[in-house]
Point group: C2
Chain length 368, copies 2
């Protein structure tokens, strides 16, 4: 099987602007080309678009706009973890020998139709994702202690970390009081506990081992892939709320022959503040019930190894771009190009991306 490396990337500043989806795709693709002087349009033989946008044929549209005539081109959608699904698909096209060089471009507008969980009639009126997050919080509180102040710390930390990310949506740090006084949306969650949908694009270039050296001296290898879909409807989920994350992490770590303690830096899918401690536990990065302890410890030590770019809460959440942006952050960390966000001596990184109340999850392990 071909080894697969990440060899370039491009990312737009996340915003609330009204750009058209094809412009968003093109913008980060152009940056990816700018970042890779040896890349020519004819090198790319597959173009995958990751989005929840309703426009059709976007891979062909992006290809035409970028002057690429790929063999393979199609769109991939799986709600919030579309981006990592597209990266896994790119990996498989290369590892199978069907492609040598794959462009994955993720894009979303602030008004994405993927934000509301329309299909799940069991939700009744409660179709906005905050309701499952609130149920997650209630459920977590039944087993472990987590206070409103704890949850606020997740938001404070991620907004703070985002201030060192030039592409983040968040443009200010918030105090604990800011979060605790923000609008109460459910019993358990306030406005500043939530990530915000936004307009954003992120592109990444993958290549087979033979082609990597043409594009970069510092490819980042995908060494572990884990994915799991448990259900689509939230009420079909088990009491093991992040089961899909747990299983995906276990597969990814096994494939890469690593353990959780090997992970130097991680992007965690903090769609809501409660997700971060729960995911840390499901990923095996913290013991059960100890996710919040880990977050607080790191926060007070000013150690930003968890969500250095500010997570979804700080960076914003353009659904189809999020998994790609998370992966770019880990690439920059492992290449020691993360500037003020740089985690010391980061050699092995993890990406955690999930959809719809963790009914499905993807975990990637990336290495220098």
């Amino acid at each position: 099987m071909n080894k697969v490396g990440i060899v370039s990337y491009g990312i737009n500043k996340f915003s609330r602007d009204d750009s058209k989806i094809d412009s968003i795709l093109l913008k980060s693709t152009k940056k990816l080309f700018d970042n890779c002087p040896n890349l020519s349009r004819t090198d790319i033989d597959t173009v995958l678009v990751s989005t929840n946008n309703n426009s059709k044929y976007l891979s062909a549209i992006l290809s035409e706009m970028a002057g690429i005539q790929p063999k393979l081109a199609h769109t991939i959608e799986s709600l919030c973890n579309s981006g990592t699904n597209a990266i896994v698909s790119a990996y498989s096209y290369i590892a199978s020998g069907l492609s040598d060089v794959v462009l994955v471009s993720g894009a979303e507008r602030y008004d994405s139709p993927g934000q509301i969980l329309e299909w799940d009639n069991s939700r009744g009126e409660f179709k906005h994702p905050i309701f499952w997050a609130s149920i997650f919080a209630k459920s977590y509180k039944r087993e472990f202690t987590i206070t409103e102040e704890d949850l606020a710390i997740v938001s404070v930390k991620n907004h703070k970390q985002a201030q060192n990310n030039p592409n983040a949506l968040s443009e200010k740090a918030y105090s604990l009081d800011d979060v605790l006084n923000s609008k109460k949306l459910t019993d358990d969650l306030r406005l500043l506990n939530c990530s915000r949908p936004c307009t954003g694009g992120a592109s990444i270039l993958l290549a087979s081992e033979d082609f990597c050296s043409k594009f970069t001296d510092e490819p980042i290898w995908i060494t572990g892939i884990g994915q799991k879909t448990i259900s689509a409807g939230f009420t079909k989920n088990t009491s093991d709320y992040m089961e899909s994350t747990r299983l995906a992490a276990s597969s990814a770590l096994k494939m890469s022959n690593r353990t959780p303690s090997d992970i130097d830096v991680a992007e965690i899918h903090d769609a809501f503040s409660i997700c971060e401690p729960m995911a840390l536990e499901s990923l095996g990065l913290a013991e059960n019930g100890k996710g919040m302890n880990m977050i607080k410890e790191l926060y007070y030590q000013n150690n930003f190894k968890i969500n250095p770019r500010g997570g979804l809460i700080g960076s914003g959440h353009p659904l189809g771009a999020t998994g790609v942006a998370q992966s770019i952050e880990i690439v920059e960390q492992l290449q020691a190009h993360a500037n003020k966000r740089q985690v010391d001596n980061a050699k092995i990184g993890l990406v955690h991306n999930m959809s719809a109340a963790a009914t499905s999850s993807t975990v990637l392990i990336l290495e220098k």
Copy 2:
């Protein structure tokens, strides 16, 4: 690299009914299970949905409804050739070793948003696909002779062949006069020269060589894959109108180590009657300018090796399901299970699926 075989399938009767997209997906998936007694829900580790429908998260929804908890699950869209893109993606998941058994389910409703080419401003008002087909006809007529009667024969042939396909939309044969007197839609094309969008679903199961024998004694192997995207906008296409088909066929035949004369049976993307002779020539099955001669010769000999199920004109064209349905037809032919449609001694088959004025094409070679 793992060999990849097709081991089961299920298909719904194409219709104009108002079923919901998830019901269409489930219906053909259920038939696929019925056709494969040894298949259990836990065997399937990847679920790919092919559709242009705007609903999100359909792979997870189908998985939940079918009782499957896959590792990988996402939707794939590339307009009319979404189905073959999904099959190629399934192939790559297996060949790369990420999956062993992949369910691909294609579905569309008669009111699919993929029917109108919204993005292409160069078309002005002319966004319905019939306008590019009409330009194809004009262009073809500049180089070669093709009469209205010739084009009518394509439709008569495909509607006739569809009468032996229990899943076809078309429920009657038409005479030459019927076609020639049908409503004139453009200078070059009449109503009965067109395939009709419809409601339809088709599912196919792929497995790695090691797993094939669990499910069937007669797997059909995917031996050749070719794909090409030239552009998205029609006016960016070259005067070599079916260049993407020509290049895709060349790659697929090379990969399978076959020549056009080896092909015993073929599914051709006849979205409009003019497409069939043009595609036969681009695929290398007929010499340039001789596609119509080939069609007439086969028709008068009652040889239905081209589009035995009636093509898109006879079967109907549920966009995301079409490429899957075409592949199922070739599987049935190679397994000698095609009943009244059976082509004698069919050992090597070809699937041709394309999108949006042949701006992109997929060609698959299947073998016993």
